[in-house]
């Protein structure tokens, strides 16, 4: 009787352990995937002042920069090329930007923009451009 009960106990223990092992493997796999994806996707999100201060450390690195678009936007329609500068209110520094492509609706002087791209030799080569609405507009979810 006792031996039977014990063996039953042992078998539930093993059953449980099997589940725990497989579960742990799944969790580890997920964690590993997250880690790898994170390593390749993590991007510094800097203000213009911070980008300037970093200097060579971020040269030609993929970064995200936020700032306000200044007046005087140069737009070459035939080449779809746009040149402008963005300024960060806190440090007062400004950054020349080159962007190629169609701009979002909210892009205009005074708008807050977030740029993704590389800083090389005094000019920021923006690949992605996201613009925020300058008006005091509280959003709708979603």
């Amino acid at each position: 009787m006792v031996a039977h009960a014990r063996s039953q106990q042992r078998s539930t223990f093993w059953k449980r352990r099997r589940f725990l092992i497989v579960g742990a493997l799944v969790v580890l796999a997920l964690a590993y995937m997250m880690y790898m994806a994170f390593e390749s996707a993590a991007t510094y999100w800097l203000t213009v002042g911070e980008l300037m201060a970093q200097g060579d450390a971020v040269y030609d690195q993929w970064v995200r920069v936020g700032g306000k678009v200044d007046q005087n936007i140069q737009w070459d329609g035939a080449k779809l090329k746009m040149e402008f500068t963005i300024t960060d209110d806190k440090s007062g520094k400004s950054l020349p930007v080159v962007y190629q492509g169609v701009v979002p609706d909210a892009f205009q002087p005074g708008a807050d923009v977030v740029l993704e791209g590389r800083y090389t030799g005094g000019v920021f080569q923006a690949k992605n451009l996201m613009a925020k609405c300058p008006s005091k507009y509280l959003p709708i979810p979603g």
Binding site: S40, V102, D105, D112
Partner: protein
């Protein structure tokens, strides 16, 4: 008038606080008159919040610009329907809507269950009223919709033109209904923990509420995606924006709950886990409201900082502590009645599905709030963009699809090798054929190929399941095939409704896979008369017109489309400039077929006649919207009331 609105809210707040206390005491000491009084407070507070909502609606409709909210979100030219939608265009109105909905749901839930669950209801109503108190505190103390302006402006600022779209009309309320809906299952779960009545009754009472909330969250997210697709003009429907993720998170945990709860009902297992999932779904719903309302994470549509943050944090923290405390208190009573038998069984496939869904929710949560964490911990803002979410969630969703196919093929408890061989044969063959055909057609991306193969696998599983059931009915009862199919659905609605939802997920997945991997994109500058080629299409820029309507200036570019041989019609792509808003709004030109969307964005135009376009060909996008409709239908089937006969008791099992 606004004083009436504000006073109603204050009274509603006081009465809700009283009602929460009375409900709790009524339950604790089995004090009937306290419980009666608590119920009356729920009704009274609902009435008062309704009065406040009516006052705000009246102020909006009558353009009472003395009210700051009205001046901010409407102007005189705003059409009626968007004036109503301005109710939830801002923080104040949205939070008021939350409070009103929670109250309304509380009443419906009370009327459904007060006789059936007399022991649980007082505590459930306590939780609902506490949630209501929280939102009433927000609208009375922090974010008052009836705030007045010292000098009323002659005209309001108008609604953001981006929001003047049919998608935006439905998207926020559906999402809200979903968020608020999760309060009900959570409230009853807490009541079960408090009373220790942890049996089947509370699970049964919330089944339909959970399905309802789950469906509305799905619909809210899909409406949002549809809106982004036609209105934001960047060519896609989902950008892993924090605000989008906010709606996805409770949906993921809710999906996990809907599945694991079947195991609890059938085998009496996973009780703690189910509690955790329902707590998570509720807290993530509140967190989602917080993300969208506080603007703590910068996003495509959230840019304002407000004082809401600390309040939400306090409420979330309290909710978490109380829930966990109650859960730990009942830990021993929640022990499973049975043990899992085999790794290869239906139960364990549910378990893995849960693990992976929660994993997806965790990864999405982590990626969403990482900028906040890194800034707090290291002082630098580090962000992960869509690549992170895609490379984590992409494989996760593929595994989910795989499990979706495998799960119905393996039996409960323990599957025999024989059973596996027989059941897996056709789905494997189906997946193989689809892969071979796609390979022959020239598709080489391994992720997409695997994805399509898995979709085929699941499709064959579902259809052979249906076919077997229909054939059996046809043989045994002599019904014709159509009648047999309908009766089959009717005989076990939860099960076959679930299959319809699975089918819809596959259809959506096919659309997502195709449009993510095989879209073609081109940016061009064209002068009138010039043409461009994209895929099989030839687009000729015919010219640009400008005209004014009552509220906006429209710039419309017309392009004629052909496939090189015969004309396929014209596409008009427009930009609106609204009178009161500096930003132009893109009105994308879309030519939709079952096979692909030709999508034209008017980027800008120069001093000469030339114009810039971004043109995309997005394959199979329409299947995402078709799948969404089917998902709604499937959920309705699953939630449809069962017949009264005891033989028809819901059973999700084989």
């Amino acid at each position: 008038m606004t004083d009436l609105g504000y006073a109603s809210l204050l009274w509603a707040l006081l009465i809700s606080i009283y009602g929460a206390a009375a409900a709790f005491l009524g339950g604790r000491f089995n004090h009937q008159s306290a419980w009666q009084s608590a119920q009356r407070s729920l009704f009274a507070s609902f009435g008062l919040i309704t009065v406040a909502a009516a006052v705000l609606l009246y102020a909006l409709l009558s353009r009472d610009f003395e009210v700051e909210y009205v001046a901010q979100y409407t102007d005189r030219a705003l059409p009626l329907i968007y004036t109503i939608s301005a109710f939830y265009a801002g923080n104040q109105g949205s939070l008021l809507l939350w409070a009103w909905l929670v109250s309304l749901f509380g009443i419906i839930f009370l009327l459904q269950n007060r006789r059936r669950l007399p022991d649980l209801m007082p505590y459930a109503i306590t939780v609902i009223l506490c949630t209501q108190v929280f939102f009433l505190i927000l609208v009375t103390m922090v974010s008052n919709p009836f705030q007045r302006l010292p000098v009323p402006p002659p005209d309001g600022q108008g609604l953001n033109p981006l929001l003047e779209n049919m998608g935006m009309l439905f998207h926020p309320p559906t999402l809200y209904l979903g968020y608020v809906g999760f309060t009900i299952p959570y409230a009853l779960a807490m009541a079960a923990l408090i009373t220790g009545r942890l049996g089947d009754e509370w699970i049964r009472a919330i089944r339909r509420w959970t399905l309802f909330s789950w469906l509305l969250l799905a619909a809210g997210n899909l409406f949002g995606g549809q809106w982004a697709y036609v209105e934001l003009g960047w060519g896609g429907y989902w950008a892993w924006d924090p605000v989008e993720n906010a709606g996805l998170l409770p949906w993921l945990t809710g999906t996990a709950f809907l599945h694991s709860v079947m195991i609890q009902r059938r085998r009496g297992m996973l009780k703690v886990w189910n509690m955790i999932l329902i707590i998570l779904s509720f807290l993530l719903s509140i967190f989602g409201t917080f993300l969208t309302r506080s603007g703590v994470l910068s996003s495509v549509h959230t840019f304002s900082e407000s004082a809401l943050g600390p309040f939400f944090m306090a409420f979330l923290g309290m909710g978490l502590l109380v829930s966990l405390g109650l859960l730990i208190n009942r830990w021993d009573d929640l022990r499973g009645e049975e043990e899992l038998d085999s790794l290869v069984s239906r139960e364990s496939s549910f378990l893995f599905n849960n693990l992976i869904l929660v994993g997806a929710a965790f990864a999405t949560f982590w990626g969403t709030i990482f900028p906040l964490i890194s800034e707090a911990v290291r002082g630098v803002k580090i962000t992960v963009g869509p690549p992170f979410f895609n490379s984590v969630n992409g494989p996760i969703f593929l595994v989910l699809i795989l499990i979706m196919g495998i799960c119905p093929l393996i039996g409960w408890r323990r599957a025999s090798t024989n059973n596996l061989m027989r059941n897996f044969l056709y789905p494997f063959v189906g997946a193989g054929i689809v892969t071979a055909v796609l390979w022959a057609l020239g598709l080489r991306e391994s992720f997409a190929l695997i994805g399509f193969a898995l979709c085929a696998f699941v499709l064959v599983t579902i259809f052979s399941e249906w076919y077997r059931g229909v054939r059996a009915r046809h043989r045994n009862r002599g019904e014709n095939y159509l009648a047999a199919f309908i009766n089959l659905l009717g005989a076990n609605k939860p099960r076959y409704g679930g299959y319809i939802v699975h089918l819809s997920v596959i259809i959506i997945a096919v659309g997502v896979l195709a449009s993510s991997f095989y879209k073609v994109e081109k940016e061009v500058n064209l002068r009138p008369g010039e043409t461009m080629n994209i895929k099989n299409y030839v687009l000729r820029f015919e010219g640009r017109q400008e005209y004014n309507t009552a509220s906006k200036k429209v710039t419309a570019a017309t392009l004629s489309v052909s496939n090189g041989e015969k004309p396929l019609g014209t596409i008009v792509s427009e930009k609106y400039t609204h009178r009161n808003h500096p930003n132009p709004v893109t009105e994308v030109g879309i030519r939709s077929t079952l096979w692909e969307d030709l999508y034209v964005i008017l980027g800008g135009w120069g001093q000469d006649d030339s114009a810039t376009f971004k043109v995309l060909v997005n394959p199979l996008v329409i299947w995402i919207w078709i799948g969404s409709v089917l998902m709604g239908l499937g959920t309705l089937v699953a939630a449809w009331p069962e017949g009264k006969s005891p033989l028809n008791l819901p059973e999700e099992q084989k």
